[in-house]
């Protein structure tokens, strides 16, 4: 219901007509052009993209490696897993303040690495949580046979196991990407100028004094949201699989009871 209304409203080129106009006959792309006049304009989208690419790839690499290590490490591994997962309970606010202060010392405010590092740290627990579930489902026999054939742990992981969990990798990456792209609080603190503003942080600046430039904001929101929507719709199938984190057993397992 309201879902669709919200989306339809966005490319508004007309403002406040009552009764409301849905799709105007005089649709213009003026708003899209106006965005470039703004402080960061399209640069913000670029920044978001860069940050997201790096943050996602790095946290995926580190996180997946960790998840694998934990999944295979037997008893000790479980304890560490709980440790990682408990990190998610941490409210980001508590982190933002000290991070901001520390980064000021390093001169990392308003830099890409200043953004990427916290995002990576925040997402690793999530990646570990998700990927661990996937790894646990793969019988160890597979790696063991690879290792008796002469592979080391690392190459076994890379060549044998990873291809098996590829859907999991894909789904997790998309999740992380979405998270980083939409992130607001940390970006708000760490970015100061248009050099590194992310799209999410840029959005509020479309309000000037007490007025909101709805047209520009809507256009910008569209640009911001569309890539994510496309990505999300593409991996619909994996959403459930990923989100349930293996808490749901397959029907086969249940039937064998």
């Amino acid at each position: 219901m309201l879902w669709m209304i919200g989306v339809a409203i966005k490319p508004a080129s007309e403002y406040w007509d009552s009764p409301p106009v849905w799709i105007s006959k005089e649709s213009t792309i003026q708003h899209f052009i106006n965005i470039t006049r703004f402080n960061a304009g399209y640069r913000a989208l670029l920044n978001s993209f860069v940050v997201a690419v790096f943050a996602t790839s790095i946290s995926m690499i580190i996180g997946t490696a960790a998840a694998y290590g934990l999944a295979r490490l037997r008893q000790r591994g479980d304890i560490w897993a709980i440790f990682f997962i408990s990190q998610r309970i941490l409210p980001p606010v508590a982190l933002v303040i000290p991070l901001f202060l520390l980064m000021r010392q390093f001169g990392w405010i308003d830099t890409y690495q200043g953004l990427i590092l916290p995002y990576v740290a925040m997402n690793i627990p999530f990646v570990v949580w998700m990927m661990r579930g996937y790894f646990l489902e793969i019988p160890t026999a597979i790696e063991e046979s690879a290792m008796t054939d002469g592979c080391s742990r690392f190459s076994a992981l890379y060549f044998v196991v990873l291809p098996l969990v590829r859907p999991g990798l894909l789904a997790t990456s998309v999740f992380v990407w979405i998270f980083v792209w939409s992130e607001f609080l940390i970006g708000l603190f760490i970015t100061q100028t248009s050099a590194t503003t992310t799209a999410a942080v840029q959005l509020p600046s479309f309000t000037i004094a007490n007025d909101v430039l709805w047209g520009e904001m809507a256009a910008f929101s569209l640009l911001m949201a569309t890539p994510i929507l496309i990505m999300g719709l593409l991996i619909q199938r994996y959403f459930v699989r990923g989100l349930t984190l293996g808490a749901i057993k397959g029907k086969c397992l249940v039937r064998s009871r």
Partner: protein, 307 residues
């Protein structure tokens, strides 16, 4: 003899293997501890210091920051707002999401239509959602007021953002809109894992719809449901982008969330107080969650024992 030789060789391999695995997860540990734990410790120290924009050194001021926060009216408003938010939003989302999942699960065609539609709200960045709704809640010509005027007679348009209660309401609605799909999606999957045999057995025994729900479905999906509820509690307690975009904490300071409150203080250049507030926030959050988790775990083990 051969057996002892074999065992010795296995031990060597095993030790090396463990080392390899440890190497794999070392970077993650370093990052998380370095960027996650260490700043927290630092924040703890800061919360006991006095940081003002004009001060050059930061003397310790014992618990002054904490008492300042505790005595601040705005803090209390934010705390109440946040607590109320969580207690209202989470049950509604759970019931709605789960209910929808129950309704939709047997109707596959409905599923295929609803799934992408329901996915959308989750995917859009919260701050985008916030501004979207801001536009809709406008008075007098926002979409919502237009709809109400269309349906109801007279002049029923409400100035949603003008008074504290209705403004708070807008925050609630926006959050529910965005995250109910989360519950829905997960519970839909969870429901599909409920063994058909159990359900059929219940039907044969003449169990009505409600009884089947209680006895068969709920116990099966409760672990997933637990995870979902805890996640939602955590996320909704941290609600920030919604407040920032729709009300900016207004009118006045009546719709502040705790995160907003902390952010504001930090922006004024007083990280000491902000850190203190954030620790109070964390404690306030962790304790109820701890209780909930314990309660749920106890119920689960009790259920298992019964079966």
């Amino acid at each position: 003899m051969t057996s002892t030789v074999k065992r010795k060789r296995e031990l060597g391999v095993e030790a090396r293997d463990t080392r390899d695995l440890r190497i794999l997860f070392a970077p993650a540990l370093i990052v998380v501890v370095g960027v996650g734990i260490f700043p927290l410790v630092f924040a703890l120290i800061v919360s006991f210091q006095q940081w003002e924009p004009f001060l050059r050194s930061h003397p310790f001021n014992a618990g002054a920051n904490f008492s300042e926060v505790w005595n601040d009216d705005v803090f209390h408003t934010s705390a109440i707002n946040t607590a109320l938010f969580v207690t209202v939003v989470v049950p509604i989302q759970t019931v709605l999401g789960f209910g929808l999942a129950l309704i939709v699960e047997s109707r596959v065609r409905l599923q295929r239509f609803f799934f992408p539609v329901f996915l959308l709200p989750m995917l859009i960045a919260p701050i985008v959602v916030g501004y979207m709704w801001l536009q809709m809640w406008q008075y007098p010509m926002g979409i919502i007021n237009e709809l109400i005027a269309f349906i109801l007679p007279g002049d029923p348009r409400v100035h949603w953002l003008g008074s504290s209660q209705t403004a708070y309401l807008t925050l609630l609605v926006t959050e529910i809109w965005q995250w109910t799909p989360f519950v829905f999606v997960i519970m839909l999957a969870a429901l599909s894992a409920v063994p058909i045999s159990l359900r059929e057995a219940a039907a044969v025994d003449g169990a009505g719809w409600w009884t089947t729900l209680k006895v068969v479905i709920l116990p099966t999906v409760s672990p997933v449901l637990t995870v979902v509820i805890v996640l939602r509690i955590l996320e909704s307690a941290n609600f920030f982008a919604t407040v920032w975009s729709i009300t900016q904490g207004g009118p006045g300071t009546s719709t502040y969330s705790l995160v907003m409150y902390i952010t504001r203080i930090a922006q004024f250049g007083r990280p000491g107080v902000a850190a203190a507030a954030s620790f109070i926030f964390m404690l306030g959050l962790a304790i109820p969650i701890g209780f909930i988790l314990m309660w749920l775990l106890k119920r689960q083990t009790a259920e298992k024992r019964r079966i």
